[in-house]
Amino acid sequence: MSKPLLEVKGLTKAFGGVIAVSEVDFHLNEGEIVAVIGPNGAGKTTLFNMITGVLPPTSGQVFFDGKEVTGNQPYQIAKAGITRTFQNLQVFENMSVIENVMTGVHCRLKTGFLQAGLRLMGVKREEQQAFDVAMSCLEKVGIADLAFEAAEVLPYGNQRLLEIARASASSPKLILLDEPMAGLNPQESRQLVDIIKKKREEGMSFLFVEHDMETVMGISDRIVVIDYGKKIAEGTPAEIYENEKVIAAYLGTEEEEEAI
Amino acid sequence: MELTSQFIQLIFSGLTIGSIYALVAIGFVITYNITGVLNFAQGDFAMLGAMLAITFVSMDMPMGLGIILSIGIVVLVGGIFERTAIYPARNASLPTLIIITLGVAIAIRGFAILIWGTQPRSLPPFTENNPINVLNAVLLPQSIWAVGISLVSLIAMHYFFNKTFIGKAVTACVVNRSAARLMGIKPEWMSFISIAVSAGLGAIAGIIIAPISGATYEMGLMIGMKAFVAAVIGGLTNAPAAIIGAFMIGILESFTEGLWTSGYKDAISFALLLIVLFFMPNGLFAKASGKRV
């Protein structure tokens, strides 16, 4: 096996006295699709936020592509090659669809204030480049025909696709998807699964949090299970399906839910 | 001995001005807790209160009546302001709401110019204003009125928010909006009440300062800004801390003015504001934060 693309070692986050994520280790190889699952409040989003630099970890390390990125700022992590989507959508509502994705190309371009202001040579070329990349990203998620619409008028499902197009515009090595299926109808979900599979064939890797078990079992190469901030299991979908700890954790929550 | 009396003198004037800032600062805290907006018109309620009281007194109305009437009118103005400017924009972005309160602030200021002109006016002291000698320092009865009235008002606020039904409803909204709604409390009205009450507090502040330093149409800006500093020192959501902040600013100002320079007085208060914002965004007393209203 080659070196893993993403490696998380002993990652821990404490908010005051509450430990949200505790000593989590896992890795992701190039070209893999890994799912992180667990009951609500298990610490999945906190884990994502630490990997993407939104929250600094209390302890532990994150390695990406052979380099340590622990505690880097989100924009630095994006430059290193990890982008993400958001559970509660974060499209730029003050822009058109294509501009959203062109903003995603940001790291691959160089134009600064002065070059842009004076419209020096190269700006036009970069604009064309950003536009072409963005257009092809939109085509891949199937909403190229909406390129010139205002992003805010897009229906929910299309905004999700837009976020994926934007996250893939900088050709990152790894995309983190935070509950990508939430709020999608079955048809949209299938469409999204196809897109993810196709992108993986192009060499992109995915780490995602998801509650929809059908999707998780269907597309993951491996699954990491988290409960109360701790990793309780890791393995292929088949292994996880039969893991007793996992079943207990999930049944446990169901009981709690019923109690409420 | 000379030094001691000057020291006491400066403490007196610091407490006097601090009590004014405290009233306005509490208004900020109440409004901020309920609406999430810093009301830039808060200081102008003080100006409006002062100007109205001066007008009523100059019409030979008994002072007590004039004062109460002025406070009542300002409370009404606060309520109208909330219904016409804040409520219709309640779903707008925060910067928009901030600019709206600024717009109201300058509208009130302009209105004051139209009615009262630009000349400074003053209100007679509430009682005979013969200086009292305390350890060689001079204390004016109006200062005692200022500190006393503001303390009484603050205690009344405490009572209102913790003991009365409406007050408790407002407090409940701060803690949990949706739970409050389930209890049959309409959060929309809480915004109305909080701004009206804050306007009244502002009016009281303006009326008690008017006999000491006079009143002009533009006095609201500085009072408002200083009270902002006080509220921010207190962490913006914590009423008791804001009161402490207000007295700190008052004393800091009187000492700067008395011992060094009056010119840089404002710069020093605002430098303190920036320092607190940059380094202690949750206020000086972040750890000790107690109740929110």
């Binding site: 995603g104 371009l109 842009a116 010139f148 | 600019i99 509208a107 430098a271």
Partner: protein, 351 residues
């Protein structure tokens, strides 16, 4: 219709602009001297508000302290040319350097703050700078003001009449707007707007938001400083009361009236504000004979609130529609907001 070229994205046709410039050239020859002086004021304000529009409308960062940068430019030019007899350009450059440095120093900590706190911090900063104008009496003349600022002189050419000054200011304003427009229609502009749209998402795709906020803050400070320098040369007398918090708020009013999400909004706001201001000064005393001072602010306060509630995009989009109808342009970009050459972006395609 099939959009497939990047040229479809931003409206970069200059037909409207040429017409506008033609009008600007003709106006001073038909205007009287009063109108000319009013238009010079519009141009000066327009330079400030264009910079402020970049900061507020596009990057979404509020500032209640830009009068400070306007004042820094004015005093830098006053002192350099008035006290030390330096050429006008030196005054402008010193002002730009000073304002830029102050913007960096104050911007680094301030721009980490959000909304309420950012508004407060910039307001406080403005008042601190105002206090320095007032108290550094040996340099600024304090409240008595600074007299005898010479007229602006560029490489031997003196802008000593209102007509010459008019062309200088408006040429600079148009250049300033085009420079800003070029920035907006590029990677940098999208980065700025992405901060406004969602700073979390902007950060997650590689936009260094602190750096972009700082750079646009400095840019807007530089615009304000240059305008301040030229203002000092134009009026030849300045005092600290020209650079109060109220002046900062006045800039803000212009930006909001014009439409903060439109690069022409700042200029439109300046035109509307100045003309309305002059009109009110004429009309109101007919009803309130004894009125004095800045009574007009009552109207601007109400106007500000009304626009934010009922027309949050400002006047620019409406004027843009009227313009396109007049120009008889094809309905190709019917939904696009904005006046001539304005952005084809914000809230576009809504209809």
């Amino acid at each position: 219709m099939n959009h497939s070229k990047v040229s479809e994205l931003y409206n970069r046709h200059y037909g409207g602009l040429f017409l506008f410039i033609a009008a600007l050239v003709i106006v001073p020859f038909v205007a009287n001297s009063f109108l000319l002086s009013v238009l010079i004021l519009v141009g000066l304000y327009g330079i400030v508000t264009t910079g402020l529009t970049m900061l507020m409308g596009y990057a979404g960062q509020i500032s209640l302290g830009h009068a400070a940068f306007y004042g820094i430019g004015a005093y830098a030019s006053a002192v350099m040319t008035g006290t030390y007899g330096m050429p006008g350009i030196v005054g402008i450059l010193v002002g730009v350097a000073f304002a830029g440095t102050v913007a960096v120093l104050i911007g680094i900590p301030t721009l980490k703050l959000k909304e309420n706190y950012l508004a407060l911090a910039t307001l406080g900063f403005g008042i601190i700078i105002f206090t320095f104008f007032k108290e550094l009496k040996e340099i600024t003349g304090g409240l008595n003001g600074f007299f005898g600022i010479p007229s602006f002189n560029l490489f031997g050419f003196a802008f000593d009449t209102d007509l010459k000054f008019y062309f200088l200011i408006w040429a600079l304003l148009i250049v300033g707007i085009l420079f800003s427009k070029n920035i907006i229609d590029s990677r940098v502009g999208r980065a700025l707007r992405s901060i406004h749209g969602s700073d979390v998402a902007a950060n997650s795709i590689g936009v260094n938001i602190q750096q972009y906020k700082l750079k646009v803050f400095v840019l807007s400070a530089v615009y304000a400083s240059v305008a301040g320098s030229l203002y000092a040369h134009y009026v030849t007398f300045i005092n600290p009361n020209l650079f109060t918090a109220m002046e900062s708020i006045t800039f803000l009013i212009m930006v909001v009236i014009g439409g903060s999400a439109n690069i022409w909004g700042g200029m439109i706001g300046a035109i509307v504000y100045v003309l309305l201001n002059e009109l009110l000064k004429e009309v109101v005393p007919m009803f309130f004979p004894n009125v004095g001072g800045e009574f007009q602010i009552v109207f601007f306060g109400i106007l500000l609130v009304a626009i934010l509630i009922y027309m949050p995009q400002g006047l620019a989009p409406t004027l843009g529609k009227v313009w396109r109808r007049l120009a008889g342009r094809k309905n190709k970009k019917a939904a696009v907001t904005g006046p001539p050459n304005a952005d084809a972006t914000v809230g576009g395609s809504k209809s």
